[in-house]
Amino acid sequence: MSNPALLLLQDVLEKPELIDWEWIRENFWEDIVPAFQGHIFLSFVSVAIALVIALPVGVISARYRKVYPPVTFVTGILYSIPSLALFAILISIPGVAIGPSPVIIALVAYSLLILIRNTVAGLDSVPPETIDAARGMGLTNRQILFRVELPLALPIIVAGIRIATVTIIGIATIGAYISGGGLGALIFDGINRQFPTMIIAGAVLATALAITADLLLLGLERYLRPWARVRRM
């Protein structure tokens, strides 16, 4: 048992004061479930809004190459600002109150770089011969985009959604500091009350949510790549 991780795990399981099952039972429906639902809501809404922005911007960036560098520059800077700092900057803007809205704005900002980059990469991955063939069949530009390019780019776009979602679920926990709700509220309450059970409940559920989302979207990504499945057989 020299492995420090295992020693820590042993510590957690052996110290009864670390996990107070009684508290979990009593507050399950009142505290834990709403926090979990709030977290799913925050993450889902943010990724959805980000997609609505990123898809058109990605398509335009793939078409008009000059637009792409400034787009990645701006979204790249947004992406590298630490989340607690971005939350702080957002709530300093007059008229922006603490709560879920600034958290969602920040989470959308973080998703943009990943989603736009993958949309462009997905569209770039479509072979030019395929587009030529579609044009030869008499499809208009719009039809080519919606019936050929986007469906073929979809697996790479979904890969971007997957990375963005996992990232967002993690960052959303910090949003609880500015009253955004979600599982982070359990963690911060646990820190303030010096009550490890709440910290562990929030941390474990947030991790489980991120891993579940990761696996579900990975499944979707594989499902959308039927040609890869065939080739593997």
């Binding site: 510590d11 600002i81 700092a85």
Partner: protein, 217 residues
């Protein structure tokens, strides 16, 4: 407002917070490199090792940084040291994933050619695999560095200090200029880290690879 923010930067405790933030991030990053690189080197030739590295990396990516830092509180106690341990744990996955895949993706033909020229295993590692994998390895270190600077902001919640202290002070005492000063300082530090490590990544890309990248475009 601007002059109020500048006043915060002139406060006597500002350099101390900045120093704490940089030390937390830098030490965590160095220890993470010291742990992840030997592991990546050890497992570079085994398929199982690569699978383990990628899975550890993926799970590590899924664990929220706040969760790791908050968990350090009941397990390791309050303060700088437990924040440092948590940040190190957070810094390892990106370095491990990139170093492992970077070393693995070195073209087998190149290694065969090197072996044919009579290079030993150690020479192949030092002269072929590491230089070719360097850009990918440094990309991992850059990702990790930027993340660590961001997560070090959260050290304040477990008494670890750093620039996050200013954000918390400004938020809880409703001092918008302190809040903004802390946020701006952290943001600038993160962007400097991103740009600086990006330059490091380019500096460590072998000349031959740069030519090949240009031709590829």
């Amino acid at each position: 407002m601007l002059s109020n923010i500048l006043e915060v930067f002139a406060r006597p405790d500002f350099p101390e917070k900045l120093r704490e933030h940089v030390v937390l991030s830098l030490v965590a990053l160095l220890v993470a490199v010291a742990i992840a690189m030997p592991v990546a080197l050890m497992i570079r030739n085994t398929r199982l090792g690569a699978a383990i590295a990628i899975n550890i990396g993926n799970v590590g990516r899924a664990v929220p940084s706040l969760a790791i830092l908050a968990l350090a509180l009941p397990l390791l106690g309050i303060g700088f040291a437990s924040a440092l341990v948590a940040l190190t744990a957070l810094a390892i996955p990106p370095i491990l994933i990139n170093a492992s895949t970077g070393l693995r993706e070195v073209n087998k033909d190149v290694i065969d050619a090197a072996r044919g020229m009579g290079l030993s295993g150690g020479q192949i590692l030092a002269r072929i695999q590491l230089p070719i994998a360097a850009p990918v390895i440094f990309a991992g270190i850059r990702t990790s560095a930027v993340q660590t600077v961001a997560s070090a902001t959260l050290a304040t919640f477990i008494g670890g200090g750093g620039l996050g202290d200013l954000i918390v002070e400004g938020y809880s005492e409703r001092g918008p200029e302190i809040l903004l000063a802390g946020a701006i300082a952290v943001a600038i530090l993160a962007i400097i880290t991103e740009v600086g490590f990006g330059a490091l990544e380019r500096a460590f890309t072998p000349k031959g690879l740069k030519i090949a990248q240009k031709r590829g475009r």
